[in-house]
C-alpha cells in the first residue's frame, strides 16, 4: 500500500470557493457538510441544556434553576436533541454523503430538493432558537394535551409550527433516498448486493415518509385548538386528551426507529470492515431493518398503558412490542457472529462499535421491562424510562454516529483524525456514559419520576453519581470536536482506502471524491463486504496497474 502524500488537484471541497458555492450547492457531499455543521451546533446547544439539568439535580432542593426554567431546559434538551440532532444525524450527514457514493451515482435523485430540505431545516432551527430566546417552551418535547393546548403560557403555538415545518425536511430527505436507491443503483448492484447502511436508510426513509405527516397533522391540531379554541384534545372544550397521545406516539414511536435504524446500518459497515469479514447473515440483517420499520408502526400504545386506555388494547401492544425486539436481537447476534474468526482491530470506529454493542444491548433488554404491562405500572414515567431511552439513543444512535463520522472522515475530508486521541475519547465517552445513565435505572425502580426539578433526599446519592458521569461525558464530546477541527487543517493526508474497506465509496472514488463522484460509472460484480481471501498486496498491485492504464479498477473479487 502506498499512501498518497497529496490530495488530488481537483476534488469536491476545492471545486468552488465562496459562500455561494456552499449555500447554493446541489452537491450531496457539500449538503452533508451543511447538515454536519448545523446539527453539531444543535447538539452542543441540547447538550448544554442537559448539563444544566444534571447540575440542578446535584442537590435535592435544586440550587441553580427556578422550576419553570428547569422545565424549559428539559423541553429544550428534548426538542433540540430529537428533532434537530438525532432524527437528521446519520441520514442527513452520513446518508447524504454516502448514499450516492454507495449506489455508484453522481448525486441523489433530486439534488435541488436536497438543498431545499436543508433550508427548511435551518428555518425550523432558527425559529426554535427564536422561541428559546423569546421566553422558551415548557411543555416537554411530548406536548401532552390539555396542558399544551389550554394551560401552558409559553410559546407552544410557535413551537408546534416549528416542528411542523421541520417535518418537511425529514420527509424530503426520505423521499430522495428512496428514489435514489430504487432508480440509481450502478449496474450490477442488486438489492442483495447493497451495503447494509443502504438497507437501513431505506427502511428509515419509509418511516420518515409515512409517519412524519401524522406528526404534522397533530401539531396543526394543537395549534388550532390553542389559538382558535376548537375542541379537539381538551376535554373542557369537548375534546379527548388520550386521542392526542395516540396521534403523537403514532409518529413518535416509529421516530425512535428513525433515530436508531441508520445507526444499526453504520454498525454493520464498520464491524465488517474492522473484522475483515462479510457481515454474518447479511440477508437476515437486511430484512430485519424492514421488519423493524413495519412492526415499529404497531407498537405506539406501549407508551400509554396507564393512560386509561383499555387493558386489552394494552395487551396487544405489549405482545407486538416484544415481537419488534426480535429483529434487533437478530442483528445483535449476527454482529457478534461477524467477529468470529475475523481479524479484529481496535481503531477508533471499532471502539465505538464495541461500545455500541454493549450499550445498545442494555438499552434493548431494558425495553423488554417497559414493554411488559405488569412492570410498566411501576416504571412508567420514572428515570428507568430515561435511562432506557438514553442507552438506545446516546449509547446506541450517538455512538454509531461517532463510529460513522470517524470511519468516513478520511473520505469526507481527505485527512486522518489523530488516532490516539480518537481512542482516548471513545473510552472516556463509554465510561462517562455508563456512570451517567446506569444509576438512573436504579433511581427509576426506586421511583424517582422524570421531569422533577427537585426530589426527595433519598435519591441524592445516585443523582450525584449521574451528574459526576455527565461531566466526564461532556469531556468525551468536546474532545472529538477539537481534534476533528484540528485535523481539517493539520491532519495527516489520508490514503484512498485507509481501512482497506470494501464498497464503492472506498474503492472507486480515489482519496477524496471528485465533484461528480465517479469519472466512470462503476460496475458491481460482487456481493457487499466481499473481503479478500488472498494477500492484500496482490490486489493492490492489480489496482495500481488498472489506474495506470486509465480505466476504473476492476473491483477485487473475493477468492
Amino acid at each position: 500500500m502506498t499512501p498518497e502524500n497529496a490530495l488530488p488537484k481537483e476534488h469536491y471541497l476545492n471545486h468552488g470557493y465562496g459562500w455561494k458555492s456552499w449555500l447554493l450547492t446541489t452537491d450531496h457531499k457539500r449538503i452533508a457538510w451543511l447538515y454536519l455543521v448545523s446539527i453539531t451546533l444543535m447538539f452542543f446547544l441540547g447538550g448544554f441544556a442537559a448539563f444544566l439539568i444534571r447540575l440542578q439535580l446535584l442537590t435535592p432542593q435544586g440550587e441553580i434553576l427556578r422550576n419553570d426554567t428547569y422545565n424549559k431546559m428539559f423541553t429544550m434538551h428534548g426538542v433540540v436533541m430529537i428533532f434537530f440532532f438525532l432524527i437528521p444525524s446519520i441520514p442527513a450527514t452520513l446518508g447524504n454523503f454516502l448514499v450516492p457514493l454507495m449506489v455508484g451515482a453522481k448525486d441523489l435523485a433530486f439534488p435541488k430538493i436536497n438543498l431545499i430540505s436543508w433550508y427548511i431545516f435551518i428555518i425550523g432551527a432558527l425559529y426554535v432558537l427564536w422561541i428559546i430566546l423569546s421566553g422558551g417552551l415548557e411543555t416537554g418535547w411530548t406536548f401532552y394535551t390539555p396542558y399544551s393546548t389550554s394551560y401552558s403560557t409559553s410559546n407552544v403555538t410557535a413551537a408546534t409550527l416549528g416542528v411542523f415545518v421541520l417535518g418537511f425536511s425529514s420527509i424530503l430527505t426520505g423521499l430522495n433516498f428512496i428514489v435514489t436507491i430504487h432508480k440509481m443503483r450502478a449496474p450490477g448492484m442488486t438489492w442483495f448486493r447493497m451495503p447494509l447502511l443502504l438497507w437501513a436508510l431505506y427502511a428509515t426513509s419509509l418511516i420518515q415518509i409515512l409517519a412524519t405527516p401524522v406528526l404534522a397533522i397533530t401539531m396543526v391540531l394543537v395549534a388550532v385548538e390553542r389559538f382558535a379554541g376548537v375542541g379537539i384534545f381538551d376535554p373542557a372544550l369537548g375534546g379527548d386528551p388520550i386521542l392526542y397521545q395516540h396521534m403523537f406516539w403514532f409518529y413518535s414511536h416509529p421516530a425512535v426507529y428513525i433515530m436508531i435504524l441508520p445507526g444499526m446500518g453504520v454498525i454493520s459497515e464498520v464491524i465488517s470492515c474492522f473484522a475483515r469479514k462479510r457481515v454474518f447473515g447479511y440477508k437476515f440483517v437486511a430484512v430485519s431493518s424492514l421488519m423493524i420499520a413495519v412492526f415499529g408502526f404497531l407498537v405506539w400504545g406501549h407508551h400509554m398503558y396507564v393512560s386509561g386506555m383499555s387493558p386489552y388494547a394494552g395487551m396487544t401492544f405489549s405482545l407486538i412490542s416484544y415481537l419488534v425486539a426480535v429483529p434487533s436481537a437478530v442483528k445483535t447476534f449476527n454482529w457478534t457472529a461477524t467477529l468470529y474468526k475475523g481479524s479484529v482491530s481496535y481503531d477508533t470506529p471499532m471502539l465505538y462499535v464495541l461500545g455500541f454493542l454493549g450499550l445498545f444491548m442494555v438499552g434493548g433488554l431494558t425495553g423488554l421491562f417497559l414493554a411488559s404491562m405488569g412492570l410498566d405500572q411501576h416504571l412508567h414515567d420514572t428515570y428507568f424510562v430515561i435511562a432506557h431511552f438514553h442507552f438506545i439513543m446516546v449509547g446506541g444512535a450517538v455512538m454509531a454516529y461517532f463510529a460513522g463520522i470517524h470511519f468516513w472522515w478520511p473520505k469526507m475530508t481527505g485527512r486522518m483524525y489523530p488516532e490516539a486521541w480518537g481512542r482516548l475519547s471513545a473510552m472516556i465517552l463509554f465510561i462517562g456514559f455508563i456512570l451517567t445513565f446506569f444509576p438512573q435505572f436504579i433511581l427509576g425502580y426506586m421511583g424517582m419520576p422524570r421531569r422533577y426539578s427537585v426530589y426527595v433526599p433519598e435519591f441524592q446519592t445516585l443523582n450525584v453519581l449521574s451528574t459526576a458521569g455527565s461531566t466526564i461525558l461532556a469531556v468525551g464530546y468536546v474532545m472529538p470536536l477539537v481534534y476533528m477541527l484540528w485535523s481539517l487543517k493539520y491532519g495527516e493526508i489520508a490514503p484512498a482506502n485507509p481501512w482497506r474497506a470494501k464498497g464503492l465509496e472506498w474503492e472507486a472514488t480515489g482519496p477524496i471524491p471528485a465533484w461528480d463522484n465517479f469519472p466512470v460509472t462503476p460496475t458491481v460484480t460482487e456481493d457487499a463486504y466481499n473481503y479478500p481471501q488472498r494477500p492484500v498486496a496482490e490486489i493492490e498491485r492489480e489496482r495500481a496497474a488498472g489506474r495506470a492504464e486509465g480505466r476504473m479498477p476492476e473491483l477485487a473479487s473475493g477468492d
Binding site: 447473515g281 433488554l365 423488554l368 412492570l375 473481503y531
Partner: protein, 377 residues
C-alpha cells in the same frame, strides 16, 4: 446526606410482591442473555484480534440452522415472558369486591382526597393496613398521574374522565406519593404522603373528622340542584328513576346498550344528550361548568349508594337540605368498612343525634315515592 444509596424501593402492598418477582425474573433472564452475548463479543474480539497488518481471516461459513435458530428462539422465549407480565398486570388490575373507595382529585399542583365517611385531605392520604383501597380518580385541569412507588401503582388522572386503581397496603408507615405525568411549573412539588395506619389508629383518625358522609353530601347536592323534580320515579316522570340503576345495563334511544358506571354518570350530567335513556326526551340541561370535580364525585357516590338498595331521596323543601352528620356513623349504610364506634364530631358541628329527614330506611319506599317506575330500560 446519605452515603450508601438505597438500591431497592420499599415493598408495602400486596401487588408490589408480584411486580418485584417479575422484575427479578426479568433481571435474571435479560441479565443472563446480555451477559452471554457480552462474553461472546469479548471472547471473539480478543481471540481473533488482528495480529499483523496484512492478516486475512478465513472465509466465513454461514449457517442457516444457526440463523433461523436465533431468529425463532426469541419469538418462542417471549411468549412465556409476555404471559407472565400480562398475568401480573391482570392480577393487579381488578380491585376486590370489598375494596373501600376513596375519591381522588388531581389539580395543579395538589392531590385532594375525599373519604366516603366524609373526611377530606390535601396531599396526605390516610388508609388502614390490610384493607383493599380502590381509588376513583379524576382531574380538574390537566393530566396528572398517581404514583406510589412503595405500592408499585401508577395511573393517569385525566380531566373529565374517571380512572381507577387500587392497592392493599401491607405495612404501616409513610410512603411517597408523586405526580409522574408532567403537569406544569410545580410538577415536581405535586407530591404527598400516604400514611398507612393500623386499623385501630385509622379508626381513631376517622373519628376526628366531622363532615357529613360523602353520599350525604351528594344527596344534598342532588336536592339543591332539584334533580328530583324530573327524576321523580312516578308514571309521568320526564326522566328515569335513579334508584337501583347503578351498574345496570340500559338501552339508549339510539338502541345501544350502555352500562351505568362512573363515566356514564359523568357524561349524563355534563352531556345529557349524548346517550339518552330509551323512552325519554333529551330535555335535561347540561351541568358542565357548574359543578366542581369534587361535587361531581359526591353525586357519583350518591347514585352508587341508591344503586345498592337505598331509595332515592324524595324532594324536600328544607332549603338547607340534609344536616351534616358525624363521620364514622356510616349514615348511608354504603360503607363496606364500618367502624363500630365513632366519636362525635369535634369541630363544633351538629351533634350525632341529628334526625335524618331525607333518608328513608333501605328497602322501605319513602311515602312520596311510588314503587320504582321505569328505569329507562
Amino acid at each position: 446526606m446519605i452515603f450508601v444509596p438505597q438500591l431497592f424501593p420499599e415493598q408495602a402492598s400486596t401487588g408490589a410482591v408480584w411486580i418485584d418477582y417479575f422484575y427479578f425474573f426479568m433481571l435474571a433472564l435479560c441479565g443472563g442473555v446480555g451477559l452471554t452475548v457480552t462474553v461472546f463479543i469479548t471472547l471473539f474480539a480478543v481471540k481473533y484480534r488482528r495480529r499483523y497488518d496484512d492478516e486475512i481471516p478465513p472465509e466465513s461459513h454461514e449457517s442457516k440452522w444457526l440463523e433461523w435458530g436465533w431468529t425463532i428462539f426469541p419469538f418462542v422465549a417471549f411468549v412465556p415472558v409476555f404471559f407472565f407480565s400480562t398475568a401480573v398486570y391482570f392480577k393487579n388490575a381488578t380491585p376486590p369486591a370489598n375494596a373501600m373507595e376513596i375519591y381522588v382529585t388531581g389539580r395543579q399542583w395538589m392531590w385532594k382526597f375525599q373519604h366516603l365517611d366524609g373526611q377530606r385531605e390535601i396531599n396526605t392520604l390516610h388508609v388502614p393496613v390490610g384493607k383493599p383501597i380502590k381509588l376513583v380518580m379524576s382531574s380538574e385541569d390537566v393530566i396528572h398521574s398517581f404514583f406510589v412507588p412503595a405500592f408499585r401503582i401508577h395511573m393517569d388522572v385525566v380531566p373529565k374522565k374517571t380512572t381507577t386503581t387500587w392497592f392493599e397496603a401491607t405495612k404501616a408507615g409513610e410512603y411517597h406519593l408523586f405526580c409522574s405525568q408532567y403537569c406544569g411549573t410545580e410538577h415536581a412539588n405535586m407530591i404527598g404522603t400516604v400514611y398507612v395506619m393500623e386499623p385501630a389508629d385509622y379508626e381513631k383518625w376517622l373519628a376526628q373528622a366531622s363532615f357529613g358522609g360523602m353520599a350525604l353530601r351528594g344527596q344534598n347536592l342532588f336536592n339543591k340542584l332539584a334533580c328530583n323534580s324530573c327524576h321523580t320515579g312516578d308514571a309521568q316522570a320526564r326522566a328515569p328513576y335513579l334508584s337501583n340503576i347503578y351498574g345496570k345495563t340500559i338501552q339508549t334511544d339510539a338502541g345501544e346498550w350502555v352500562t351505568v358506571d362512573e363515566n356514564y354518570i359523568r357524561e349524563s350530567i355534563y352531556k345529557p344528550n349524548a346517550k339518552i335513556a330509551a323512552g325519554y326526551a333529551g330535555i335535561m340541561p347540561t351541568y358542565e361548568g357548574q359543578l366542581s370535580e369534587e361535587e361531581l364525585q359526591t353525586l357519583i357516590v350518591y347514585l352508587k349508594a341508591i344503586g345498592s338498595g337505598v331509595q332515592q331521596a324524595p324532594p324536600i323543601s328544607n332549603p338547607q337540605g340534609v344536616q351534616p352528620q358525624p363521620a364514622g356513623k356510616n349514615p348511608d349504610g354504603t360503607l363496606p368498612f364500618k367502624p363500630d364506634s365513632a366519636k362525635p364530631g369535634t369541630a363544633g358541628t351538629e351533634p350525632a343525634k341529628q334526625p335524618e329527614p331525607a333518608k328513608p330506611a333501605p328497602g322501605q319506599p319513602a311515602p312520596t315515592n311510588p314503587a320504582p317506575a321505569k328505569t329507562g330500560k
